[in-house]
Symmetry: C2
Subunit: 411 residues, 2 copies
């Protein structure tokens, strides 16, 4: 089995991490910033050194292309993103791009030619930290997000994507939504599952379904000192019962589900006033669309019952629903075969976070390869991954792509 | 039994309510504002018409005095405050001041002379809406709050109490902390108890003890989409269990206690992030100091147990503790005897809210008389009270003061 150059891959990651390095060992390269430009330029230089040609599309997605024997064949694309969160880590996104480059470097060293062109991509503004929404470049590529609308999106200082792209000069005419043979993305897990299980490789089967609810619970504002307990219509204790009920029942019933209450707000709150209104959010996730719908129904039923029993007024708005994204079984099987032939420990895993691959999966056969990260921590300067895992993830990526090239979507 | 002039008292209240009237039928006369000055001047005019002399102390507390046969006797003082909340009501505070004036008017009409001087007081800045803290004038009078410090307190526009007092001219040399024979304050209940019970008069036995706690519950911030439920240390659901536990147990155990969670805050919250920290407040009240201490201990025990079971870090800070303020048994008995002799329905009641009487109770024999207000609503333009209740409360005040004068602290 062909393996990658572990030291070269690690050194490339550490060299890239010098750009926008933070004192605590992280990285700040916000999308289309001066640091992002420097990171992109270093990557471009490495790709040109590897004999690749450089192309941009209208939203600044960067494609480095290694030509195939059949230039008209659809390219197999490998990549992720080079931008980071503010005080983000050295691996989130960057690993997927530089792992793609390492695949090309190995093919060059081994004098392996392929029928299909291979491209390594860095998608624009995956993080969404400077420009909202996240995964913007890949959504514009697939035309899920309108190009002109995206170009007008501005950061907090009022600088638009259009202006930022012009200032770094990374705009081109590569067609949006052009056909890919397949898309592969390697990434740190950004969760604790692989580390907890002592497993090296996550064979990613898709992205889970997500439902965001906005809950408003209204009662009657009253004085904390003059209103007897039995006279109160207190939404805060109602919300306490709601949270307690959801916490103790929902994920026992839906074992693959997740529930998070990340925001809670009491408008015009005062320490000695029973609130009139409590707002909170619910984030529900499940790998299965039908089970997510059942989770949502269960939340609605529990909250409705509790509100009714307490004389509270309840409003539930569905803010967002994103269906599950199953990855391509052919692509998944190339990854599974590669990891099995390499003899590394592995398990199937669901992508809990959003990735460009979730967007691209609607466009072409897609999958991902996960490696463990320490403590599951990401979007943080302390994000870290072991050189061994970084190399083995890239070994799997390399061999999966070779299987795809050979059209051996087996096991 | 002597009774007050119901129509005159009501008309005085409605006349005062024209100053700073709001569109929705409420009043805005913020402490020491132009409107407060006009309200004070109208009151002064009425007092002078009733043959009283006008005096101020250094914090602008306004005393209208009806001389007694023995000018050296300590005065019996009746009153409350003329300032209002922004968009407050027509009765909160004003009723106690104008009820005091009505008592004087009746004594004049009936040619009743008294050994003790009688004074009707309007305390400065009871509401605390423009200048913090509330009940400021009475606290300066009793020297619980330092005069010089109080004079330097500024509103949001940077205007100090010293400047505001100078501009309305209501500053004098009446001694702070001079001795009173007794202090009586009539007030709307600001709670629903009397209305719910169909009772006309609350014989107020004191102010309840109050304990304010600041709670901080810390867990581990993590991604809502990549962190399995069993790996989470989620403070939000911990807080849900805490609220649910307190709600379902505390006030069953402490039947006269009250608990309010008025504020809850998640620093840097995000819909799809498990919070690192949840802060919330707890307001505990009980008429009995010992029972309040037991309530606090119970809260601490429950929260500690729940945090420990969930691996959460808990911090509980006591922000404020105000002991119970029992009113004077002699003064209370004059009110009880008066209401019984008048034949009005009555019950003992605890003052849930703060009042100037709570401050003055530390200084001299003190009590209060409560009347119902619609829905228990106060600090609101819709605050209202029935003319019948307004008159009957003043009847009780008049006869209680006459009993005090006669030193008949009976029943």
């Amino acid at each position: 089995m062909l393996k990658v150059n572990s030291e070269r891959l690690w050194n490339s990651l550490m060299e890239m991490a010098k750009i926008g390095a933070t004192a605590a060992g992280g990285n700040t390269r916000l999308a289309l910033s001066e640091e992002d430009k420097l990171g992109r330029e270093l990557f471009i230089q490495w790709c040109m050194d590897a004999g690749m040609s450089i192309h941009f599309d209208a939203i600044g997605n960067l494609f480095a292309r290694r030509e195939g024997e059949n230039p008209d064949a659809n390219p197999i694309v490998i990549g992720s993103h080079l931008d980071t969160q503010p005080k983000g880590g050295r691996f989130d996104g960057i690993y997927g791009v530089l792992a793609g480059l390492e695949v090309i470097r190995i093919l060059n060293e081994e004098n392996i030619t392929t029928e299909q062109p291979l491209e390594v991509v860095s998608w624009t503004n995956e993080e969404g930290a400077r420009f909202t929404p996240a995964m913007l470049g890949s959504a514009v590529f697939t035309k899920d997000l309108d190009l002109e609308k995206a170009l007008e999106i501005s950061d907090r200082d009022g600088i638009s994507i259009r202006q930022s792209l012009a200032s770094i000069g990374h705009v081109g005419s590569r067609a949006l939504a052009r056909t890919f043979n397949a898309y592969y993305e390697a990434h740190i897990e950004q969760g604790p599952i692989l580390e907890d299980q002592g497993i090296t490789i996550g064979v990613v089967t898709g992205g889970q379904a997500i439902c965001w609810l906005d809950i408003a619970v209204s009662g009657v504002a009253a004085h904390a000192g003059t209103t007897p307990m039995k006279s109160r219509v207190d939404p805060m204790f109602g919300v306490g019962e709601m949270l307690s009920s959801l916490d103790s029942t929902l994920c026992k019933k839906f074992s693959d589900g997740m529930i998070t209450v990340g925001q809670l707000d009491i408008p015009g709150s005062s320490r000695n006033t029973i609130p009139a209104l409590v707002n909170f959010t619910v984030d529900l996730r499940n790998p299965d669309d039908q089970l997510l719908a059942e989770m949502e129904a269960d939340v609605r039923r529990q909250l409705t019952d509790i509100a009714a029993a307490r004389g509270l007024t309840l409003r539930i708005d569905r803010h967002w629903l994103s269906p599950a994204t199953p990855f391509d079984t052919g692509c998944i099987s190339t990854v599974r075969t590669a990891v099995q032939e390499l003899g590394y420990s592995w398990q199937h895993i669901i992508s809990g976070a959003g990735h460009d691959a979730i967007n691209i999966a609607k466009h072409c056969p897609t999958t991902m390869v996960f490696i463990p990260c320490a403590g599951g921590i990401s979007h943080n300067e302390s994000e870290s991954a072991l050189p061994e895992h970084v190399a083995k993830g890239c070994d799997v990526l390399l061999n999966a792509v070779l299987l795809r090239i050979a059209q051996r979507n087996v096991a």
